[in-house]
């Protein structure tokens, strides 16, 4: 006992003796993420932790600036040859980390690799409208599409360019473990499950990266991430709860970085199974929910009221098509009218969704005379149910949606189009509208189509938009960075002062 205390003291002394790192020249940026990258091959995994890391290693064909506009990256310019052919002009001054030049060959290889069904990329669905890619000049690549595809560029924001020669020489598995790209950082070491260390690519074509080294650590527990930040172990953490953000505001050394994103919180209401097939009950639920109370009390203001399932950064969003207002009396009347007092509604959810939101919504709906039963399972089971048959999907569920494409086509199309695995709803008029919006390149016509679609959704209520989610990061005061609506994490855009 005594001896243990003594050794504990010794350990403490040792820790004390290590001098605090001087803050003058910041060489290393340390980042806490909720998880480790599943893969570093940018074409086989699409989860936030993975792409947060690997997009610093690779360049994409096009990218978005801080304002959200699509801007050149590897492609310096592009033009539509016709409705189904787009020509990209490529930069000629980009090299991979091994010094080899990034060519049109690499771009075509990257597109063909990810669109090859046998490659089994889970991202295939983001690019499956691409029929072919051909080199028409040393610096020109033409993509041919299966049909007119208005969100092509928005999807290409997610296309990283991989080096053909290297991938073919080493094979997919080796490339995944030690990937090489053309981005601002190169991989130094990937300790699986622990952390990923990146070194600056000094010859990067956009200029020298701001930190010599970047370390991404995998810290699953939010409270621990905050402790890391407070203890000075890390400089920035991703995945902050609103309550924690409030608590951190009083800390003089730290700051909360936030931005409204294209991500929208919504309530799914099953129109094809269970008691909510009755439109009156769907309306009652819509009247029962006090959006503003949820945002004020639970999101602490880190959320913005939306009028439908969409948000400002999303193309096609219609702020003037309003949700039904908060009106519990009307909701009660509707429940009564439907003869559904005390009817049980299953509320499927998973630990991935904020438990407090779920419980608060439960209470709001219970208050108007229905009986909501919460059913928590892990994410895989939740998805299986939610995307299963209308009978299994439960009556209501929360979703936090982002297509990372800032277009209604990536939001309400998969959510409500007949035949989509998420949709527990079918309306031919709606289908026609979203189909039309998907197959024309004319923005004005698309807007008109989405107007129609959103109007139908407001009337049929297969779901209700709740709030526009904010991206929340906590960081040291010295870090200067403006987070973006598409939740990208480019170290290149950061500064330390």
């Amino acid at each position: 006992m005594k001896r243990f205390a003594a050794s504990l003291g010794l350990v403490a002394l040792l820790a004390w003796g290590v001098p605090a790192l001087a803050q003058t020249a910041k060489d290393t940026l340390t980042v806490d993420l909720p998880g480790d990258a599943a893969t570093l091959d940018p074409q086989v995994q699409w989860d936030t932790d993975s792409y947060t890391i690997y997009r610093n290693i690779f360049d994409n064909l096009v990218t978005r600036d801080t304002a959200g506009t699509i801007v050149p990256q590897i492609a310096s310019a592009w033009r539509n040859l016709d409705d189904t052919h787009v020509e990209f002009t490529l930069r000629q001054d980009v090299t991979f980390h091994d010094g080899s030049k990034l060519t049109a060959d690499d771009v075509v290889f990257s597109i063909k690799r990810i669109t090859n069904p046998a490659f089994n990329s889970p991202q295939l669905s983001q690019f499956d409208q691409i029929a072919d890619a051909t080199i028409t000049a040393p610096d020109k690549v033409v993509l041919s599409l299966k049909s007119p595809y208005p969100v092509l560029l928005a999807q290409l924001v997610k296309l990283s360019i991989v080096p053909k020669a290297d991938v073919l020489a080493r094979g997919d598995q080796a490339f995944n473990l030690k990937p090489m790209g053309s981005g601002p950082y190169r991989l130094r070491e990937w300790q699986k499950g622990v952390q990923t260390t990146l070194d600056a690519n000094p010859g990067y074509w956009r200029g020298a990266p701001p930190f010599k080294t970047v370390i991404f650590r995998a810290v699953p527990d939010g409270s621990t991430r905050i402790a890391d930040l407070k203890a000075g172990k890390v400089d920035i953490v991703r995945g902050l709860a609103p309550d924690d953000a409030i608590a951190l505001k009083s800390n003089a050394q730290l700051q909360v970085l936030s931005v409204p994103t294209e991500r929208v919180g919504y309530l799914f209401i099953n129109a094809q199974g269970g008691p909510t097939t009755d439109l009156r009950l769907r309306q009652a639920i819509a009247y029962a929910i006090d959006q503003q109370a949820l945002i004020d009390a639970l999101l602490q203001g880190y959320g913005k009221k939306v009028t439908s399932i969409g948000a400002e950064p999303i193309f096609g969003y219609q702020p003037d098509i309003k949700n039904l207002p908060y009106d519990p009396a009307k909701a009660k009347a509707l429940v009564k009218e439907a003869g559904a007092e005390g009817r049980e509604l299953i509320f499927n959810t998973s630990p991935a969704y904020d438990r407090r939101l779920v419980e608060a919504i439960q209470q709001m709906i219970n208050d108007v005379g229905l009986k909501v039963t919460i059913n928590v399972s892990d994410q895989a089971t939740y998805l299986k149910r939610r995307q299963g048959t209308p009978q299994d999907a439960g009556s209501i569920a929360i979703g936090i949606w982002s297509c990372a494409c800032q277009d209604a086509d990536g939001v309400i199309f998969p959510l409500f189009r007949t035949g989509s695995s998420w949709a527990k709803y079918s309306n031919p008029a709606y289908d026609a509208a979203v189909d039309a919006a998907r197959s024309t390149l004319d923005p004005a016509k698309r807007i008109a189509d989405y107007r129609t679609a959103y109007q139908i959704l407001r009337d049929d209520l297969p779901g209700i938009g709740l709030y526009q989610a904010y991206a929340l990061y906590a960081a040291r005061k010295e870090l200067h960075w403006q987070p973006t609506p598409n939740e990208s994490f480019f170290v290149m855009d950061m500064k330390w002062q």
């Binding site: 409270s223 309550d243 009390a297 438990r355 439960q362 919460i374 399972s377 895989a380």
Partner: protein, 279 residues
């Protein structure tokens, strides 16, 4: 010697335990509020808060503005019944299996004890998470899962003890006298192996509450909004700095319960242990 007086510490433990159980049973009458009633304007209020309308939150409120005292009282009900039921379920499965294996020997022993090995070597948390995924959540499913994953510990203890006891002369005598195996096991073996089983069961009692808490932390315990001590604490840990009371009170209650149950378990074991009374 047989009627040694009960030490004051034991009496204290008994009184405390009874108090906790009674409060849990009477939660519906004792609790000042509906434990699931939220008030988003009254989130994270400290103990002793009195609202303008005169509502008194003795132990403060949680992150959805629910009365903490009421939640702890109702939570006691959930936590205690999860623990009691799952320990009983484990005992009901594990003890017969262990005794049978220890008594019959031969292939029965091999079969049962390998089964125990199998069950013991599946990490309990994994099995619990998977089973919740397959069966869906729910109070009785939770109890079933816990009982089903923990019975091998009882089986192992019962087995080892039965092996020892089965060799004792008077058991052999009873067997020779023509008593049937079930009767011998029930009348002669069971009382002799009860002490060690009691220790396992009382240890497990607290662990089961923690286990449910762990599942709550992973989001798979007692279904919200129903409270359990574990779920209250797993919420409260996110507010340790801002609202210490959310973890402090259920934590103290759990500590008291675990100490009482363990102390009583040890004491009962000592009383049941024939060896401590010889000499």
């Amino acid at each position: 010697m047989r009627r040694a007086s009960i030490p004051p510490a034991i009496i204290l433990a008994m009184v405390l335990l009874t108090l906790i159980v009674v409060l849990a049973v009477l939660a519906g009458w004792v609790a000042p509020f509906d434990p699931t009633r939220q008030s988003l304007l009254l989130r994270l209020k400290p103990p002793g808060t009195v609202t303008a309308s005169g509502a008194h939150y003795l132990l403060g409120t949680d992150d959805l503005g629910r009365d903490l005292l009421s939640r702890i009282l109702y939570g006691a009900r959930a936590s205690l019944s999860v623990a009691a039921l799952s320990v009983s379920a484990s005992l009901l499965i594990g003890v017969p299996v262990g005794m049978l294996a220890g008594w019959c020997r031969g292939w029965v022993e091999i079969l049962l004890m390998r089964l125990v090995d199998i069950m013991l070597s599946i990490p309990a948390v994994l099995l619990a998470v998977l089973t919740v995924a397959v069966l869906g959540p729910g109070f009785f499913k939770l109890v079933l899962v816990l009982g089903f994953t923990r019975w091998p510990r009882y089986a192992r203890t019962a087995y080892a003890q039965t092996l020892q006891v089965a060799g004792l002369p008077y058991i052999r005598a009873a067997e020779l006298a023509g008593a049937r195996a079930p009767r011998i096991l029930l009348r002669h073996v069971l009382p002799n192996i009860a002490g060690p089983l009691l220790v396992v069961a009382t240890s497990e009692f607290g662990l089961m509450i923690l286990f449910e808490a762990g599942l709550s932390f992973l989001g798979l315990g007692i279904q919200p909004p129903a409270p359990s001590w574990g779920s209250i604490m797993s919420v409260g840990r996110d507010y340790v700095e801002r609202a210490w009371w959310i973890v402090a009170f259920p934590g103290a209650a759990l500590f008291g319960l675990v100490v009482c149950v363990n102390v009583l378990g040890d004491w009962l074991r000592d009383r049941l242990d024939p060896k401590l009374h010889q000499r």
